[in-house]
């Protein structure tokens, strides 16, 4: 057991997996000599060689398209998209191909591939280095989408994603890389994809969220605790599939649900979670469901006042949860 950052947990898991299974290859832009622009893959090329940790040409459609080909031919590719904002040149390959290959071949072919990509803002990344893109992919049956919120989960979810027979998108919040630390066991372990995690039991309000926002919600819960407001926090961990049971359970328990994500409000996961609760737990609710999310503007601006206005912060979560508790 060691204390690690979120970033180190991902790197050490990649290392452990590369050692465990020689079908695994890691590739993408700058992942080799440079160790990735965030250093997630640092040292991996030195250990595993240029055939298993590959600096690819700057072309995302080719990165994902070749990963699909390698996967159907027996490898376990773990391609990296340098920033999730740059996943769009590959969207045809991900949505039309990876997601549909099993279905269209009537089960004959599968694409065991994990696409890793840093996402999220608040890091002066502006419009194209701050985006949350998970909802695009969560919309597509055939894909799985996981977003770990702690170093511990980062390891267990990555190992599960690599072991999965289907394509998994694994999103890593950039602001989590170095700010989140925690204990991570040395041995390999799996966290099932599709299982939410109750981070904190509470009585008055349920905050349902994922990724970096989990740590923000925990901060908000501490503040509110002192005011006598008891907050329950459910970390979805996977936004496709969703853990419907856990979502309904917390909604029924507190009767007040605050859904939080940094991704845009409209069409975000909050809408789906709200619909599930409305369909299956409406009469348990004591207040309308509240969604706190990134505003519906095309992307996060760079200038500090605008970036701040965009970001979901612990303060904004505290405020929204307090208001909901008083409803």
């Amino acid at each position: 057991m060691a204390v690690m950052t979120y970033l180190e947990a991902i790197r050490e898991t990649l290392r452990q997996e590369l050692r465990r299974d020689d079908r695994i290859i890691v590739y993408g832009e700058d992942v080799g000599v440079r160790g990735g622009v965030f250093r997630v893959t640092e040292g991996l090329q030195a250990e595993f060689g240029e055939e298993r940790v590959i600096d690819s040409p700057l072309a995302e459609a080719a990165i994902i398209g070749t990963a699909i080909g390698a996967a159907v031919n027996g490898l376990r590719p773990v391609p990296e998209i340098q920033f999730s904002d740059f996943i769009f040149p590959a969207i045809n390959q991900i949505v039309q191909e990876a997601a549909r290959i099993r279905y269209r071949s009537n089960g004959a072919f599968g694409v065991p591939m994990v696409i890793r990509a840093p996402f999220g803002g608040g890091v002066h990344g502006a419009l194209y280095h701050s985006q949350s893109v998970e909802a695009f992919f969560a919309h597509v049956p055939g894909l799985k989408v996981v977003i770990p919120s702690t170093p511990y989960d980062a390891k267990g979810l990555l190992a599960s994603a690599i072991q999965d027979e289907d394509p998994v998108l694994y999103f890593e919040h950039k602001a989590a890389y170095r700010s989140l630390k925690g204990e991570v066991p040395d041995e390999r372990y799996l966290i099932p994809i599709g299982k939410a995690d109750l981070k904190r039991p509470g009585k008055h309000v349920s905050i349902i969220t994922y990724g970096l926002m989990v740590s923000y919600a925990l901060k908000a819960a501490e503040v509110l605790d002192k005011e006598g407001i008891s907050v329950e926090i459910l970390d979805l961990r996977s936004i496709r599939p969703l853990d419907v049971e856990a979502i309904l359970e917390t909604a029924k328990k507190t009767g007040k649900v605050l859904m939080v994500h940094e991704d845009n409000l409209t069409g975000g996961i909050g809408g789906e979670v709200s619909a599930l609760i409305a369909e299956h737990a409406l009469f348990y609710l004591d207040a309308p469901i509240v969604r706190l999310a990134g505003p519906d503007v095309p992307a996060m601006p760079y200038s500090p006042p605008l970036e701040h206005a965009f970001m979901v912060t612990p303060e904004k979560i505290t405020e929204a949860a307090r208001k909901l508790a008083k409803f």
Binding site: D30, G32, P57, A62, A126, P295, V297, Y302, S303, F310
Partner: protein, 331 residues
Amino acid sequence: MAGSDALYGLGLDTTKIETMYYYMVLSRALDERMWILNRQGKSAFVISCQGQEGAQVGVASALDPTVDWVAPYYRDLGIVLYFGMTPREIMLGQLAKADDPSSGGRQMPSHYGHKERHVLTGSSPVATQVPHAAGIALAFKIRKEAAVAMTSLGEGSTNQGEFHEALNFAAVHRLPLIVVVENNGFAISVPQSKEMVVADVAAKAAGYGMPGIVVQGSDPLGVHQATLEARKRALKGEGPTLIEIKTHRYTPHSSDDDDRAYKTREQLKAEKEDDAIVLFRQWMMDQKLWDDERDQALRQRVRHEVDDATDYAEAAPYPDPKTLWDHVYHS
């Protein structure tokens, strides 16, 4: 001073030569100031033109900013200055202030755009501007206007599908388009040998039936001449040209990068021997077009402009947070 029209047979007079030199020096000086602001904690991000000024000014000086359009990329400070963006405007963008003409402080620095100056707004995903420039050229062609579109990008970015699709489209429709590849040998840390197998990006033009030309960024006049010829072809209806400029990147990829992991200091030193600014000045002196005294005067003028731009931008206000909601759609 010899005001020779015959300089390199380019029809360049001494004023034009001096103008080219001025823009190279100004680009470098503004860029150096950006790094100082970054180290002072006043600017979170810098991405540089340093090393590529000769390439950029060589191209821009062969275009006509009154009619032509450019769709540049993040290193093209020399191009956008030549097209009329002012040092103050550049610094407003660098410091993300409300009056930044490129984006009102919304985009990262160096994501240039200026409608009045014919500079198309650009994004971060590489190579997306190439089809846009082809479309701008298509509109020129349909309206029978005597103008060209120029777009530029790095060599690593020529691996994107959009680059290839746009070249093919432009060639098929014989569009008045100039595609400039500023080949600095690296895509962040990845050397050209791992980006592509061909030695010259210009070779990619052959697949689309268009000329691909190689010139040296340390020879701005050579770049200028190649661009002039491409522009002539474009205006005659002979279609697009791909110009590859061999150049260098003197800084890390950006202020978030550290290039020591992938570029030796010896290589960097050798690249700096091939600095267009130094070589061009030497050439001007050899031609008796320039002397130390004039150089000092020019550098002083540039320093003053950079100081003024910095002071102006530092004093300028940030955007109001309420404007977050502006311009999502047409009012």
